[in-house]
């Protein structure tokens, strides 16, 4: 399940998470859950270098900027998609977000 914060007062969705609503400063930023969230890939990069040794065996890694239909923009791994594609963002096996075209 993927969780996204949505303000119980003004309804704005936000990411990355924080302890308050960045749109109206309410402290009632509540969690919504879904199997996946639809969005569109705005841009992609393929990493050939990582600053963390643990990632190095997995290079090259494709990472993208995804504009969720709900509003926020997130950075995630991109599995089978390119810039401009409609995707669904889900939580992958390593608890990190990934976009699937």
């Amino acid at each position: 399940m993927i969780k996204l914060q949505r303000c119980a007062d003004c309804g704005a969705a936000q990411y990355p998470p924080r302890e308050f609503c960045g749109a109206c400063l309410s402290d009632r930023a509540a969690w919504e859950t879904a199997d996946s969230l639809p969005g569109q890939v705005l841009a992609c990069t393929t990493l050939h270098h990582s600053n963390e040794p643990a990632f190095r065996p997995r290079l090259p890694l494709k990472v993208g900027l995804v504009h969720l239909d709900a509003g926020p923009v997130l950075i995630c791994f991109v599995m089978r998609a390119a810039a401009g594609d409609a995707v669904n963002v889900r939580v992958g096996p390593d608890d990190l977000l990934e976009a699937i075209g």
């Binding site: 705005l42 990493l47 270098h49 600053n51 923009v73 995630c76 791994f77 990190l96 977000l97």
Partner: protein, 395 residues
């Protein structure tokens, strides 16, 4: 609009305040010294270059990433200064211009008479990774876990979107990088002075596509600094100086843009040029914050040198070397000088000062009367949050 509205909207000028003594503690690829050593060296250079007694420095602006856990506060005790104005400006690539603004206002208000502005960092095998891993809460939670590509990856996403939106090519980015290397070959302070051709640039290994090796700055250690004081004081001391014709900053501009294809300059550039009393065509040299060539192109657009989205055509039309039609990053920029952490936010400023003082030796731009310097800093999540710019003038 009534004249009263205009008065409230336009900031006071920087008349009567000047910048003196650009100094650089030479950059090195790695160092066993701590950040305080580099900052202290820059401070010593300011004292030696100006003849100002150490106790006469009553204002201090400091920027550094690797000085932590210390800040400007701890640094005062380490170097034995007792300033009555103290600024800690963790604004990365914008810190030099922000320091200039804080220092100039302090001097104008009489809160301080001589303000030393310094930025510097050390570099070793661990410092860069530690900096990236703990850069910000958003970065730690929502960027670094995705491959730990650091700023190379974050700015690669912006570059990819920019290429898609404007038709910019790797050749356009390469033209800027190659011109800066050409300039660096005339600057003894540049760390990277070997010849770089467009073919070398294009053949370099990929780092975070579309960024390849020569799109990325090389982290290093070093420090830069300058002094801010009244023109009267500078004349009394017999110091050469540069005037501040205008300066702006803006933080977290355009937060609703899904991808950051513009920095904050567009919000304030009219105020900048209006305050300066000149326009983009009236500067003889431009120093942008070049952590990546694409970011320089955003500055050309944002500061009014060309229209939004017209960066590629602008790059194709100009020659960016010291002797070219648009002298840009005349010391080599960070791409060829290295990025000494927060000093990257000072590098363009001290280079512009040297040019306007006529001290740029073999890379001197002919008839340099006005310079534009811009800064861009702090990729907190998906974009740089701090934008700044200044127009400087020869005295």
């Amino acid at each position: 609009m009534s004249s009263r509205d205009q008065v409230t909207k336009s900031a006071r000028t920087y008349d009567g305040v000047v910048l003196c003594c650009p100094v650089t503690e030479p950059y090195v690829r790695r160092s066993e010294h701590g950040a305080a050593w580099f900052l202290a060296r820059a401070l010593r250079r300011l004292i030696d270059a100006s003849g100002v007694a150490r106790h006469a420095i009553d204002g201090l602006c400091v920027s550094s990433f690797t000085l932590l856990p210390d800040t400007a506060v701890a640094f005062t005790q380490q170097v034995g200064l007792s300033p009555r104005v103290l600024e800690w400006l963790p604004m990365g690539g914008a810190c030099g211009i922000v320091a200039l603004r804080r220092a100039a206002r302090a001097v104008q208000a009489g809160d301080a008479e001589v303000v030393a502005c310094i930025a510097g960092d050390t570099a070793n095998d661990r410092s860069f990774r530690d900096l990236l891993a703990g850069f910000s809460t958003f970065s730690r939670d929502a960027v670094y876990p995705y491959g730990a590509g650091g700023p190379n990856a974050s700015f690669a996403l912006i570059a990819d979107a920019y290429m898609r939106a404007t038709g910019a090519t790797r050749e356009d980015f390469g033209k800027l990088a190659v011109a800066q290397r050409t300039n660096a070959r005339r600057n003894p302070l540049a760390l990277l002075r070997g010849e770089l051709t467009l073919a070398d640039y294009l053949a370099a290994r990929p780092i975070a596509e579309p960024h390849h090796l020569f799109d990325c700055v090389m982290p290093c250690a070093g420090a830069d600094g300058f002094l801010v004081m009244t023109e009267t004081r500078a004349r009394t001391l017999g110091l050469k100086f540069v005037r501040v014709l205008g300066a702006i900053e803006r933080h977290n501009a355009f937060p609703d843009d899904p991808v950051a294809l513009r920095g904050g300059w567009a919000m304030d550039r009219d105020a900048l040029w209006s305050q300066a009393g000149i326009g983009p065509k009236d500067v003889q040299l431009v120093q942008t914050y070049d952590d990546y060539p694409v970011i320089s192109m955003l500055q050309f657009e944002g500061l009014g040198f060309c229209d939004a989205g017209a960066g590629p055509a602008f790059v194709r039309r100009h020659d960016f070397t010291v002797d070219g039609s648009f002298p840009h990053n005349t010391g080599g920029g960070q791409l060829s000088m290295g990025q000494a952490g927060a000093a990257g936010g000072y590098l363009g400023l001290v280079e512009a000062m040297r040019q306007l003082l006529g001290d740029a030796t073999e890379r001197q731009v002919a008839n340099a009367r006005h310079a534009l310097v811009s800064g861009f800093g702090m990729i907190n999540y998906d974009r740089g949050l701090c934008s700044a710019a200044a127009v400087l003038g020869r005295a």
